[in-house]
Symmetry: C2
Subunit: 215 residues, 2 copies
């Protein structure tokens, strides 16, 4: 069972093209490093300045790459922003996925998902500004980010219900509720202030998911 | 007990100045109607066009008031936007408050809060765009909106725990978790698509809060 926990989710998690569009995928290890440097620099640039004040020149300067290298992978500021949103979705998934799959119960898996998301958001506070700004700059990316995340959560909850670990009436509503909790707990305890222990926060939520909050 | 459910919350809910700043509060019933028309028009204008493309002229046209009337209450586009965010916080509170106070248990109260929030968001879909854009246009208003909402939820949960209705270990984390659920369920089932019955959504969440999702 362990190790298959998130299996079905993988299939639904990337309905869009890879990052960047397939025709521009780097073919060498050096190319992959350059692309990675550009995306990391874009996260810094847009995270600090926002989309409108951020610039391609700012990105290449931060990345330490030539303008020509940028245009090898992206045609415009819009395109690198869109790729960045997909990349951040992917990074969250890769960061929390292993811990979720290693958990020995679904409640533990959800606990691990939140714990590792809070840690990721502390190290990448800019993710909030970038995803939130996507609502205005690139609504389709914004929608895709949350829709694919919710699909992934719904798939793993459904599997756990089928295994008999969760209630039979598990639905998409639970997935959106859990995603919403995690996003807002990350906003409060990663972006606004790191004034609580992530393990303690994850314990509270795991216990709520296990048995509710009624006396 | 009923009728006092949200009492403590009232005190913590409005640390900011009233809408608009006190010096410009309307003194007559006619003035109050004009101010209401301006705020409703501002919600339409910013909800449709966003802050940057929205204009004072667009607001006064929609409201059917003279430019001079606008400046009786607000000095700038920034100021009316800030007042609008506070007004929307207040409207949500007034819309969900009575149902929360009328509930006969805290789980029912949380169910009622979500149910009425989903209904409010279906009738006022623009609230998402306005609050979300506040993160960029007026970060202090954005922060205040969520901080005061979380304080209100935390206060009513704490009271319910003190009454013996909820677990003793109720904390701010539960308040943020519940707020996050509600915001994302509203995004999914009010703004994106009205493809599920609000009563059914509220039932799912109430049951999760009552006894968790484990089998």
């Amino acid at each position: 069972m362990v190790g298959r926990r998130d299996a079905k989710a993988t299939a639904t998690a990337a309905p869009e093209a890879a990052v960047p569009p397939a025709s521009k995928e780097p073919r060498t290890e050096r190319g992959r490093r350059t692309l990675r440097a550009i995306l990391d620099a874009a996260a810094e640039e847009f995270g600090e300045k926002g989309f409108h004040d951020g610039s391609i020149a700012g990105i290449t300067r931060r990345a330490g790459v030539a303008l020509g290298s940028f245009y090898t992978y992206f045609d415009s500021k819009d395109e690198v922003f869109r790729a960045l949103v997909r990349d951040m979705s992917q990074q969250v998934k890769e960061h929390v996925g292993p811990a979720i799959r290693a958990a020995t119960s679904q409640i533990d898996a959800e606990r691990a998902g939140l714990l590792h998301f809070i840690r990721f958001a502390r190290a990448h506070k800019e993710i909030y500004r970038i995803i939130d700004e996507a609502e205005f700059v690139d609504p389709e990316s914004f929608r895709m980010h949350y829709a694919t995340t919710a699909d992934r959560i719904a798939a793993r909850l459904r599997e756990a219900a089928d295994r008999g670990e969760l209630r039979d009436d598990i639905s998409e509503v639970h997935a959106w509720a859990i995603m919403g909790m995690n996003v807002f707990l990350g906003l409060r305890y990663s972006v606004w202030a790191e004034d609580a222990d992530p393990e303690a926060i994850a314990d509270v939520v795991a216990s709520m998911l296990a048995r509710g909050i009624a006396r």
